[in-house]
């Protein structure tokens, strides 16, 4: 395969992290499309970014907080009304046994 921006290993890792399922054709297509997009990012190299603070919150707001007050919640019915599977008031999924992170 011609050299790509994203390695095959990283591509596979990314598919897993994103919890997606790609069939081989899809994977090939998306891989090349991503490469194309990332090549376009190289235009960043033309800019001098030394000492430039990243802008992560354009609103400029600070300290937008909520007082510790209880407000009405959904009823149990409302909470569950869209769930594909429920049982005795719980949302139900096929058994998960792997210990989760954190």
């Amino acid at each position: 395969m011609t050299s790509t921006v994203i390695s095959d290993a990283d591509f596979a890792k990314t598919v897993k992290m994103a919890k997606l399922k790609l069939n081989p054709d899809e994977a090939l297509k998306i891989h090349s499309q991503l490469d194309e997009a990332l090549k376009a990012i190289e235009v960043f190299n033309e800019l001098d970014l030394s000492n430039v603070e990243p802008l992560s919150h354009p609103s400029g707001l600070k300290n937008v907080l909520r007082e510790d007050v209880v407000t009405p919640s959904f009823t149990q019915d409302q909470a569950l009304q869209n769930a594909p599977a429920t049982h005795k008031g719980y949302v139900m999924v096929p058994g998960v046994f792997e210990e989760q992170d954190s």
């Binding site: 919150h57 907080l65 909520r66 510790d68 209880v70 407000t71 149990q76 096929p94 210990e99 954190s102």
Partner: protein, 434 residues
């Protein structure tokens, strides 16, 4: 080869705010009674739900940092930590990575200091349990706990022994409870522990660490250290390095076991949460929070020690605020009785809720039949009595022996009746005949 235990702890504590971390749903997962009755678009992760941080949770976290000698940086923000799990409704947890609310800090124990790396604030996941329904294994999820505020305390690997761990964790819990920010109920998951354990032969940081989870008590924490010390030592003796992995504690066998399915460190793709503007923590705000700092357990213990109370008594007394108040009161009116009081309280010799401090003191005073026999105390009083009554002295010297009775009476008056009569007699005669 002797190895040194190098152990750090990660402690999660659920804050007992009224509402959740990022929405106004009630924060009461343990007593809800029914599942999924405290949810909303935000904590249920519905499309369009947006987080708004709970001010009290932030202040409680800063308060904890102040109590643990942390630095409170002037800026902070929330990050998204991404992973998929059915109990994580948004597919990410709102947490903090690069700018936590509290940095550094420490807690001293009798075994030495445990430094903290940092304290940060995040949201809890939903509660999941497993059952068999319709013949199939399923997992059932209750989102009442989703987005409850969670404080994470991360220590440096300064814990050197199981005993040190127990003391550290107990002290930490006492402080958290004294601050009133959490009940730290381990059985309900209000406080959760994780250990990072490794062994070193020369005190330097080893090139691996083993994470141990599923630790439900301070004792289990200590046990897991003991077990890992043995297990890892065996591997090191064989010239190998223990695998860096996550293990779960097994209470019944007091051992740890490797957890399935761990393939290497997860990549959480942290990014700043764009829905939540960053925080600027002003000096003024920190000052206001500091006013909430109560007298901490360590300070209280020190004070009792200076009053002459034994340490194991002190450790018991500080947990009962009515006893502490009683001690304060008696210290003011009759400090000489504080030590006895401490003993009486600890050994439950009387009901301090029924008997007022003044009563207690009076009872003690009257029951004490101790008379003053000390010459050093009596002589100055005797000399004064004689100096004040020259005519009666002359009378005595002229042969009026019952003048002695007068002098004894006077000394008794001056000592509120406590002077020992024979000693007083003897000293008076000695003075008068000198």
């Amino acid at each position: 080869m002797t190895y040194q235990l190098i152990c750090g702890a990660e402690i999660h504590v659920e804050l007992k705010t009224k509402s959740k971390m990022f929405c106004g749903c009630k924060n009461d997962p343990f007593h809800a009674g029914k599942p999924n009755i405290y949810t909303c678009p935000v904590c249920l992760g519905l499309p369009g739900g947006l987080p708004v941080p709970n001010k009290k949770a932030i202040e409680d976290t800063i308060l904890l940092g102040l109590a643990l000698n942390c630095t409170i940086p002037p800026v902070s923000h929330f990050d998204r930590k991404h992973y998929f799990y059915p109990d994580l409704p948004k597919g990410y947890q709102i947490s903090q990575l690069s700018e936590p609310l509290c940095l550094g800090g420490y807690l001293d124990t009798s075994f030495g200091r445990v430094r903290l790396n940092h304290i940060h604030l995040e949201e809890d996941a939903a509660k999941m349990h497993h059952e068999v329904v319709g013949g199939k294994k399923v997992s059932l999820i209750d989102f009442n706990r989703s987005s409850v505020p969670l404080v994470e305390i991360v220590t440096e690997p300064d814990i050197k022994s199981p005993e040190m761990a127990k003391e550290f964790l107990k002290k930490l819990r006492d402080i958290i409870r004294a601050l009133g920010i959490s009940d730290c109920d381990m059985e309900k998951g209000g406080m959760r522990l994780e250990a990072n354990i490794s062994l070193s032969c020369d005190g330097s940081l080893p090139p691996y660490k083993v994470e141990v989870k599923n630790i439900n008590s301070f004792r289990y924490f200590a046990n897991s250290m003991e077990y890992e010390a043995k297990r890892q030592a065996k591997i090191l003796e064989a010239g190998k390095i223990p695998v860096q992995e996550t293990r779960g504690y097994r209470a019944i066998t007091k051992s740890t076991a490797s957890q399935r399915g761990k393939e290497g460190a997860a990549d959480y793709r942290y990014m700043p949460d764009g829905d939540i503007p960053p925080l600027t923590i002003s000096d003024q705000w920190v000052k206001e929070i500091k006013l909430r700092l109560p007298v901490l357990p360590s300070t209280q213990i020190e004070r009792l020690l200076t009053l002459g109370i034994a340490e194991n008594s002190a450790n018991i007394l500080i947990h009962d605020s009515s006893m502490m108040e009683y001690i304060d009161h008696v210290e003011k009116i009759a400090p000489e009785f504080v030590k006895k009081l401490a003993n009486d309280l600890v050994n439950k010799k009387f009901d301090h809720n029924q008997i007022k401090p003044e009563q207690y003191v009076k009872q003690l005073q009257s029951s004490q039949s101790a008379k003053i026999t000390d010459e050093g105390t009596l002589l100055p009083i005797i000399e004064k009595v004689l100096a004040d009554n020259p005519t009666v002295v002359a009378d005595y010297k002229a042969g009026k022996s019952n003048a002695l009775g007068f002098f004894v009476g006077a000394v008794m008056k001056a000592t509120a009746g406590k002077a020992d009569a024979p000693t007083t007699n003897h000293l008076l005669r000695a003075k008068l005949e000198a």
